[in-house]
């Protein structure tokens, strides 16, 4: 019962309270780059969720089974990047084979998941938060991805509506997007301290 409780609170925490995009400010590049249309944002969110779950789990395993017993924690960054890059390559091949239309619409943003700092950030946070079971690592990484998907979809919804609004000329384009991101982030900070 205790484990379930910890898993649920941990999941909610990483989705809402410690949302990687809105409170840790990681993964801003796709958050602003692919949030123009809601269907593409959702696809991007799913791809990131998949890569994040896969790489979060793998890095946790590598961290606990290889690096920590050998005392090689210093090489975490390099090893984690290796894992993430491979996972992204895998996703890219998979999408190209089975979802060519999604693959076309992502374009350059799919390989850019490699350098999405939200993923590396999460892999490092798993260690920082003291995750000590594999199940916990899986749930937290999936939660991180879902949190990213929620954030990018909310942003895409707002931006779709913003297109029909009379935005003052100096604020059109990037400025209004950044202001929106800031206000959205403020709103999510309201969750802080709930759990």
């Amino acid at each position: 019962m205790d484990t379930v409780y910890i898993l649920i609170t941990g999941f909610l925490s990483v989705v809402l309270i410690n949302n990687l995009v809105l409170t840790k400010f990681l993964g801003i590049c796709p958050y602003l780059g692919v949030s123009g249309r809601i269907d593409m944002a959702f696809g991007m969110g799913l791809a990131v969720t998949f890569v994040m779950t896969l790489s979060g789990t793998l890095t946790w395993l590598i961290d606990h089974l290889v690096l920590m017993p050998l005392g090689l924690e210093v090489t975490r960054y390099v090893c984690f990047i290796l894992v993430i890059a491979s996972a992204v390559q895998l996703v890219e091949m998979y999408l190209r084979k089975f979802f060519p239309s999604l693959y076309d619409s992502f374009g350059i943003f799919l390989p850019l998941i490699t350098t999405n700092c939200a993923i590396l950030g999460l892999c490092l946070f798993l260690n920082l938060w003291g995750t000590d079971s594999l199940l916990e690592a899986v749930v937290l990484s999936a939660g991180g991805g879902i949190g990213f998907t929620i954030a990018i979809c909310i942003m895409a919804g707002i931006r779709e509506n913003l297109q029909m609004v009379d935005v003052p000329e100096p604020l059109q384009g990037a400025p209004i997007t950044l202001i929106t991101a800031g206000i959205l982030s403020l709103a999510f900070m309201g969750f802080a301290g709930i759990i």
Binding site: L70, L72, M93, K97
Partner: protein, 294 residues
């Protein structure tokens, strides 16, 4: 001293290096297997066609971009010749890649604007202060007196990717030296003023009006509109008058004396030359009195 520190570094870092190499090797093997299992066969012809296209992504062919067109033409060779910026050269190249014979498709199509009224020639019932877009202005009945003429807010200008269209004194004017015939402007015009016609000559004679109102009404709205008098049709076979508007057979147009005569006789000078080196249009000698009344 330096040697000793290098030896020390190596002796403490060999494990890290080994782990890294090991991990790299494992992932390389996984990716190699995935690469073999998830291979996508791409026809090299598609890439060749894509390379032959002008890569402007203008959308004249009906596809979102050149990549889509390359794939589409591969699947359905009947689509050869849809690339208007590339023209006959590109069609020939694609046909060569696909081992096909391309039939002569006639002269390239270029847009002509069926209006010649500048701001001074037009009549307004009221001042339009709404959204500066033709589509918005067209939704109002009285944005300008003529319900057919160019509104001059430049929806076509923003649609043009080649900087070949400009609003000059309230009239969309095409720069035929830059135009590639991509049809974007003709799709953008809410009044369907821009028609794609086969440009058989350097300069084409065109009927620059699309008002189908009776002559009296047209004259009250515009100094240079076609009043449907039929003088041109009497002088030359190339013209016909239908619904109070002179129509021209652009496909068979060739410069001739009778055509010149029709142009000279047009009382409102609604027949003008359009093209790369088109002479300036004639101006009506006596301004019709009715046009000055609002």
């Amino acid at each position: 001293m330096i040697l000793a520190s290098i030896v020390q570094l190596l002796s403490s870092a060999w494990l890290a290096g080994l782990v890294m190499l090991g991990l790299g090797f494992v992932f390389a093997v996984i990716l190699l297997i995935a690469h073999e299992k998830l291979k996508v066969e791409v026809d090299p012809k598609i890439e060749q066609i894509h390379a032959a296209l002008p890569n402007l992504d203008c959308g004249a062919c009906g596809f979102a971009g050149c990549g889509g067109y390359a794939k589409g033409v591969m699947e359905n060779p009947e689509l050869i010749g849809r690339c208007s910026p590339g023209g006959a050269d590109v069609s020939a190249q694609i046909a060569e890649i696909l081992n096909l014979q391309v039939s002569e498709s006639g002269p390239a199509k270029r847009p002509i604007v069926h209006c010649r009224a500048h701001t001074a020639d037009k009549t307004y019932h009221a001042e339009y202060q709404g959204i500066p877009s033709c589509t918005a202005a067209n939704a109002l009945a009285n944005a300008q007196a003529c319900k057919f003429g160019c509104l001059g807010f430049g929806d076509c200008v923003s649609a043009c990717k080649f900087d070949a269209l400009h609003i000059v004194d309230g009239l969309a004017t095409i720069d035929y030296a830059k135009c590639t015939g991509c049809t974007a402007c003709s799709k953008a015009c809410p009044r369907d003023l821009i028609e794609m016609v086969p440009f058989g000559q350097e300069n084409m004679m065109t009927v620059a009006c699309s008002s189908i109102c009776t002559g009296k009404v047209t004259r009250a709205m515009c100094q240079v509109g076609c009043i449907g008098c039929g003088l041109c049709a009497k002088k030359s076979d190339a013209f016909t008058v239908q619904d109070n508007l002179a129509r021209m057979n652009y496909a068979n147009y060739a410069p001739s004396e009778s055509n010149e005569l029709a142009l000279d006789k047009c009382p409102t000078c609604a027949i003008v030359y359009r093209g790369k080196t088109a002479p300036p249009p004639r101006e009506p000698k006596t301004k019709p009195a009715a046009a000055s009344k609002v």
